[in-house]
């Protein structure tokens, strides 16, 4: 008797627990739920977090993310309009906008991801194939470089550099987003953003780009070197010119000064010596003898010379005339 009562009480408690726990459910922040009755969604999705009520046993709460979710595409090899193969890696952000539609159409995140794969990949492929590589790389705000930078690059690259960008990467990603959005709402998905995360040359092209970069650098290096040599030659030339100018100017000045002085001296001498050219000749000759004399000179004189005349015969005779001295000159 007592035992049966105890068992009955136990069953009651268990039933209450089941009903209560089936009636209440909590929804985490960032979650939403769809109430499903025998596999069929009923009512609007529940988006408010907190404690909620449903019918126990016959209703079931299916929870979905309300937060922003990541879609990460596989890198794809896609040819551009210019037939260059490039790797394109895109990433997208999406959220479950309509949980009911979402549940009905794709059921789970994995399902949604595979739909997104199909849609975004094909849109990206279309857009990339329809664009030039430069348009994918640069933005619409690309400023055409000018001046110095252009001198560093070869002519064929220069043409590409100065090309105006019709669309640009931003515009292309915007188009991708818009195109993808057209089909997506029917799945209860909101596509928030699509971006090209990575864009890269395929391996073989990359090698070629490296080779091009290397040759470009080498060309610039050679240009620098020859520029240096050119400038150096220019400087040395200017220096040579200046040196010659300085030296020749100095030479001219020297000659002028010396010439003037010589002329002046000549004039002075001329004026003075003209007074008695014969006496000048006599006295200058004597000077010259004195100046021409040195320690090693050997002098040979005859006793006929005026100087030694008196060695031979003391001055018994009257002195000879001035003409007698002349041979000594």
């Amino acid at each position: 008797m007592k035992n049966a009562l105890n068992i009955g009480f136990g069953i009651l408690v268990l039933a209450i627990v089941i009903v209560v726990s089936g009636t209440f459910y909590t929804l985490e922040e960032g979650e939403q739920a769809v109430i499903v009755q025998f596999g069929r969604p009923v009512g609007n999705p529940v988006t408010e977090a907190g404690l909620h009520v449903k019918l126990p046993l016959i209703q079931e709460a299916r929870r979905f993310e309300k937060r922003l979710l990541i879609w990460d595409g596989d890198p794809n090899q896609i040819p551009t309009k210019g037939r260059e193969f490039i790797w394109v890696d895109t990433t997208a952000r999406w959220r479950i906008a309509d949980a009911k539609k979402f549940l009905e159409n794709v059921a789970s995140e994995a399902g949604a991801r595979s739909r997104l794969n199909d849609i975004i990949d094909s849109v990206v492929r279309d857009q990339v194939s329809g664009s030039e590589l430069v348009e994918l790389v640069r933005s619409a705000s690309w400023e055409v470089p000018k001046g110095e930078i252009l001198e560093e690059v070869p002519a064929e690259v220069r043409e590409e550099l100065t090309k105006r960008i019709a669309r640009g990467r931003e515009e292309i990603t915007r188009t991708i987003l818009a195109e993808a959005r057209k089909v997506i709402p029917q799945y209860g998905i909101e596509l928030v953003d699509v971006r090209i995360k990575r864009l890269d040359y395929v391996e073989s092209v990359r090698e070629k780009v490296y080779v091009r970069m290397i040759s470009e650098r080498k060309r610039i290096a050679a240009q620098f070197r020859s520029e240096g040599e050119g400038r150096s030659a220019e400087i040395l030339g200017t220096m040579e010119k200046e040196l010659r100018q300085i030296r020749s100017t100095a030479y001219r000045r020297v000659q002028e000064i010396r010439g003037k002085a010589d002329a002046e001296a000549t004039r002075v001498y001329g004026a003075a010596y003209n007074a008695d050219p014969e006496f000048y000749a006599f006295s200058r000759t004597l000077e010259a003898y004195k100046e021409g004399q040195n320690k090693n000179s050997v002098v040979i004189l005859t006793t006929d010379s005026d100087y030694f005349r008196y060695l031979k015969q003391a001055g018994t005779r009257p002195l000879p005339g001035a003409a007698a001295a002349r041979p000594a000159r």
Binding site: E29, A49, R198, A250, E264, D306, F308
Partner: protein
């Protein structure tokens, strides 16, 4: 015990436990279990928030309140839950490189890792070259509620946006620009654009800084870039050398020019002075000479001879009648021959000639 058998020991332990429980009685057991449960239940009613954290308290899943650092109370688990978010800490994401968090042993894994890094850091520039950019993004969780509940995988979101934006910005510039002067502009632009997108996504993240680390040409191209730098240095060096030579030689030449001109001026002054002096002297002498030409002439001659002869090495006086003198003389010997005609060899002997 000679040998220790763990199985036997455990069985022994369980047996003892059963005996104890039987001794306690079923009511007591229930009381102990309930007490333990209550203790666990109550222990979840308080929590501490560390200084750099913010606590988010959720009641039945919904955000109820946020709490600042310190000790706080809440309803027990099942009703309220708390999440701690490090809001004051600056978090960092690295791109294109990894700071080794664990030392040692990681060497073998570095090769595939490196390739992954290169995938992140290699990007195309506006001139369709490839460049290797490494950078970091520092951020703070400004709004923990948004951070937790608006975006799933917030960290991956930040990384994806950082890569997409950096590639766009670098793609819109010339490689040489990014390598040199454009670094600051690139990081500023990336930061602004990233912040805008993170705001649109409602990530609750505030960027602190975006900084470029190593920005280099790709490895295979590096030597060529270095060559350009060397060439630039070479250019400067060559020019400087030439300039140096010019700087050295021109002032020197100027100095020398000035010197020769000054010397010429000196010469001119000297020449004219001498001319004037000599002219004056000549005039003076001439004046006197004209008064007594004959005597003066003789005196001048004798004076001159008197000054010449003492200076001479040797003096030979030859009689005018003597015809064959020269063969006897050894003119170069310097020694006076013993029988040198009638001449008295020594110049000394005629110094008296000075006095007329």
């Amino acid at each position: 015990m000679a040998t220790y058998d763990p199985e036997v020991a455990v069985e022994e332990l369980l047996r003892q436990l059963r005996q104890r429980l039987a001794a306690l009685g079923s009511r007591r057991i229930a009381a102990v279990v309930l007490g333990a449960l209550l203790l666990i239940f109550l222990s979840s009613t308080w929590f501490t928030v560390q200084p750099e954290e913010t606590g988010i308290v959720q009641r039945f899943g919904a955000v109820h309140r946020t709490v600042s650092p310190g000790l706080h109370f809440k309803f027990p688990n099942g009703i309220e839950r708390v999440r701690l978010v490090p809001t004051a800490r600056v978090l960092k994401e690295e791109f294109g490189f990894g700071t080794a968090a664990t030392g040692g042993g990681g060497r073998t894994q570095s090769a595939p890792d490196k390739k992954d890094f290169k995938n992140v850091s290699l990007m195309l520039t506006g001139d369709l070259n490839v460049i290797d950019v490494q950078w970091i993004v520092q951020y703070r969780i400004e709004d923990p509620v948004r951070y937790l509940f608006r975006v799933r995988e917030s960290r991956q979101t930040i990384r994806d946006i950082a890569e997409a934006v950096m590639r766009r910005v670098v793609g819109n510039r010339l490689g040489s620009d990014v390598l040199t002067v454009g670094r600051v502009a690139v990081s500023t632009e990336v930061k602004e654009e990233m912040q805008k997108i993170l705001g649109e996504y409602e990530t609750g993240v505030r960027l602190v800084t975006v900084e470029l680390q190593d920005v280099t040409p790709p490895d295979p191209v590096k030597p060529a870039f270095n060559e350009v730098n060397e060439a630039r240095q070479d250019r400067e060096r060559t020019i400087n050398q030439a300039q140096e030579q010019a700087n050295r030689e021109i002032p020197k030449a100027r100095g020398e020019a000035t010197r020769t001109i000054t010397e010429a001026e000196g010469y001119a002054v000297e020449r004219i002075n001498r001319a004037n002096g000599e002219a004056t002297r000549f005039r003076a002498v001439l004046g006197e000479y004209q008064r007594a030409p004959e005597v003066t002439r003789r005196r001048l001659y004798l004076e001159a001879m008197g000054s010449i002869l003492p200076e001479a090495k040797a003096l030979y006086i030859v009689d005018s009648d003597q015809k064959a003198l020269l063969p006897w003389l050894r003119l170069e010997s310097g020694e006076m021959p013993a029988a040198a005609g009638k001449g008295s060899g020594q110049a000394e002997g005629v110094t008296g000639g000075r006095q007329p």
